[in-house]
Amino acid sequence: MSSGIPPWRVSASATATTSLHSGHVAPAYIPVQARRSLTPAKATNPVPSSSTSPTSTETAARKRVEFPDAVRTYVQRSFAPEHRIPGVERSEMEAKLKSVITEAAEGNMLNKIDWETLPLPQVMVQNDRNRVLASPSVSTWGAFGTVSPKKSNGLSEDPSKKRKSVEYHGDASSCPPWRQTNNQNAFEDRVTYPSTDKRQKIDMKNPSKSKANLEMRRKRFEEPQARSGSSPSSRGASPASSANQGPVVGRCQELEKNYFRLTSAPNPDTVRPLPVLMKTLDLLKKKWKKDNNYGYICDQFKSLRQDLTVQHIRNEFTVSVYEIHARIALEKGDLGEYNQCQTQLRALYAQQLGGHPTEFRAYRILYFIHTRNWTAMNDALADLTAADKRDPAVTHALDVRSALALGNYHRFFQLYLDTPNMGAYLMDMFVDRERLSALAAICKAYKPDVKIRFITEELGFESDEQSARFILDQTSEDLLQEKDGVVRLLTGGKAGQLFEGAKAEAHRIVDIKGQI
């Protein structure tokens, strides 16, 4: 089992077998009676198994090949009765043998292969079958018996060409589908291996999708072997197994790394260990100060978070990474990214790993005000401890929430002008919405007009010009009038309705994702 399909076959199989089937070889396959020795076979057996075969007319057209003794012994051994495996049809064995030798010959490998240790064709056939059994995707098990002796015309049995028919229908009968699913490493079918495979996958899309799928599936079957086998390459070494067995331990020493969404188990060679990540964070902080390039920073932070996650690192450093990323995302108004960090931080704070829990609990409340997610708001309130509630930032956020809940715009805009930490970035996102609500109320309650100065002061505008512009932007009508040298907002007539409409519009959609 251990060697499986020899590595050189993997790439050669497709081309080698097709050339075999190009006509002239075919007629030679005639069902033969059981044989005890090699000699009588020579005449009828088309397999270039001995030096005599080139003399036959069928193969005459082909390039003559001298077969080394090792190959002949190998063929002899294949036919030896003591090596027969019950359940493996003779015709199957022959077909396999033929393909193995042909491929070797075409790849000029005849002298390079260690025929002494190469598994016999019947063993290969059996291995192939076992692999099918392990496949989670086999479902047509009912249609077995295709490998019937009737079909002993070796041609149709060629396993590499007619892989589908042989492997699919072949032996699944012995193993019902519900058992098959669990044989495989649960990850195998989702794993696409990094580096080389990616390119192949794309290439294979071109010729035919089903063929590509076939190839992919075959690769999957081989993977467990490759891993336990001789090649210690990064490709097989650890990824698939590590996902099940615990955290990855990174080996990468590069400070910067682009973010890619994981489609497979992580490769330790591209994962940075904690000391490297700490340096990375310092570097990123410097770069952010210097270049202020959010696209780059966000990407780097995402890969940083990914490396922490795959290594199961959860400590104060993890908290600071999420906190810094959250702050940067806030500053740039990238709410989607901010929300991801916030969700993580909530879990991290629950584990008492340090950081700045109250600062972020306050943001969280403001965030839910913005998204108007009342169910989540209730949860956020439930998370607060008595100590949290004494924190100025949390108190501020709670006051903002309660001011809005009661429609107390006066208090709301006072709070807006005095927001601790980076909460103002969040409040900026819903302050216009709340201005419209307030204007709708003002228009209904004040008659006949109010000075623009009053609006500016009450609604936290920076200047009369700004508030006037805001009003004109939101309502196309001319609601402003100059009287006695003062600009006034006429609250009567349609004003209330206009603001009501604008308010409804502003409250209608909250872009929660808002990712940049």
Partner: protein, 454 residues
């Protein structure tokens, strides 16, 4: 004092789903405390299938189609295993584990689902689904509690960039997936309605709602409702279903609306549940009322009477201080009561609507000012008219009293105006503010405070 086999036999004979389901109940009845134990020790792992085949069918003289019979034997075999894990809590507590109970029970739930989907279990037996689903949820919660007390589990290994946030409910989340299959199993049954599993739809939905609430993933209920709405044409009217299912269902729908602050819809569904709820189901009535009272406060600005809350001392205790402050217009007392009850209110998810009671308290306070303002001099023998022009300063003074403000605290006139403008905007007061003159002009003719008689 009936054994599990008796329940099974009787259930099958008279076609009673509940009776049949009682055979699958993993709790021994009070009058037969050893029922589970004796069931478990009647066989062993090697012979259990054969023994069950005999005891359930041959010995009972029951005949069912072969496939169905096989399905029941499989279900009871896995039930036997689950009971084995349960019995261990008595017999060998050090080896007992709720995680194992949950796994065994889940296995059985899956077999039951398969029994319906492909082995021809009949639709009248769906009460089994209720029982199995209900205990699946219970065992999952116990398993989660057990796991978190052991402090195990930390990372799950899906290929995610961030560790998932919540591990505390891993088993309960697993349970929701099974419950979800039960939901689909009921909803997607295309058999004629008389023999359809559709009759089980509300019970499975309720179970899922309950679990989602527990997991704090109320948002997921939306998916169920969407699926229900999509096939509502095929469902019989609600009043054809067992009342208990419908009451619970309406309760949850009400609460879901409630949480989204759609208080009008919430009130509709909660009132329906309130009216339909069995009068002796005190606990359920209390649950409904806990949401209905805040709902009513927001939609109609009315407070619960003493009689209404009399049978529910806990609710009385919860709401009465607030109600008294609202009535008196005591803002300071109201704020204090909100703070005092905050934890409980938040836990019951009623903090946000109750907070709005402050508007009513404020309205009542300002109404007092209006009444204390007395009447304008009447002209020409007309009936006296209340003074409708009230200086803002008077409201400011009222606020000072209402909030028990220290005399040194300055009351911000702009804020007073803001509060007034809000009450006007919300329709709790009628009139307008003439800002230049610092005056509130209220509407005449007994409509200044709508609905309060003045």
């Amino acid at each position: 004092m009936s054994s599990i086999f008796d329940d099974f036999k009787e259930g099958q004979k008279i076609g009673s789903g509940p009776r049949l389901a009682s055979a699958l109940t993993p709790v021994a009845p009070a009058q037969y405390p050893d029922r589970l134990k004796s069931f478990y020790y009647f066989s062993n792992a090697v012979h259990v299938s054969a023994d069950l085949r005999y005891s359930l069918f041959q010995a009972n003289g029951l005949r069912l189609p072969k496939q169905e019979q096989g399905a029941w034997v499989d279900i009871f075999t896995s039930y036997w295993k689950a009971v084995g894990e349960l019995v261990r809590f008595d017999d060998a507590p050090s080896h007992a584990s709720w995680v194992k109970v949950f796994e065994a029970w889940k296995e059985m739930a899956n077999l039951l689902i398969r029994g319906y989907s492909s082995n021809g279990l009949q639709a009248w037996t769906v009460p089994c689904l209720y029982v199995v689903g209900r205990y699946l949820r219970i065992f999952a919660m116990k398993a989660d509690a057990e796991l978190s007390s052991q402090g195990s589990v930390a990372f799950d290994d899906r290929f995610q960039d961030d560790a998932t946030a919540d591990f505390r409910n891993a088993k309960l989340e697993e349970a929701t997936r099974v419950l979800n299959r039960m939901f689909t199993l009921c909803l997607s049954d295309r058999a004629p309605i008389e023999e359809s599993r559709k009759w089980g739809i509300y019970d499975t939905t309720n179970l899922l709602f309950k679990t989602y609430f527990r997991l704090n993933t109320v948002g997921l209920s939306k998916n169920l409702l969407r699926a229900l709405r999509a096939s509502s044409a095929d469902l019989p009217d609600a009043d054809a279903f067992p009342k208990s299912h419908i009451v619970t269902f309406e309760y949850y729908i009400g609460v879901i609306h409630f949480l989204e602050e759609n208080y009008a819809e919430a009130e509709e569904h909660l009132s329906y549940a309130w009216k339909m709820c069995h009068r002796n189901a005190t606990k359920n009535r209390e649950l409904i009322l806990a949401y209905l009272v805040p709902c009513h406060l927001v939609t109609t600005h009315t407070l619960p009477s003493k009689e209404l809350l009399a049978p529910f001392p806990r609710l009385e205790e919860l709401f009465r201080p607030l109600c008294d402050c609202i009535k008196k217009g005591d803002l300071g007392g109201f704020d204090a009561a909100m703070t005092a009850g905050e934890d409980e209110f938040v836990k019951r998810r009623i903090y946000l609507p109750l907070e709005r009671g402050r508007d009513i308290a404020l309205r009542n306070l300002f109404r007092k000012i209006f009444i204390a303002g007395g009447f304008d001099e009447s002209k020409d023998g007309q009936p006296p008219i209340r003074r409708t022009r009230v200086p803002v300063a008077e409201f400011a003074a009222a606020l000072r009293i209402g909030t028990h403000a220290d005399e040194r605290v300055r009351v911000d006139i702009d804020e007073v105006e803001c509060l007034l403008s809000n009450l006007i905007y919300k329709g709790l007061m009628k009139g307008y503010i003439a800002r230049e003159r610092g005056m509130v002009v209220l509407s005449k003719g007994g409509t200044a405070f709508p609905g309060t008689g003045v």
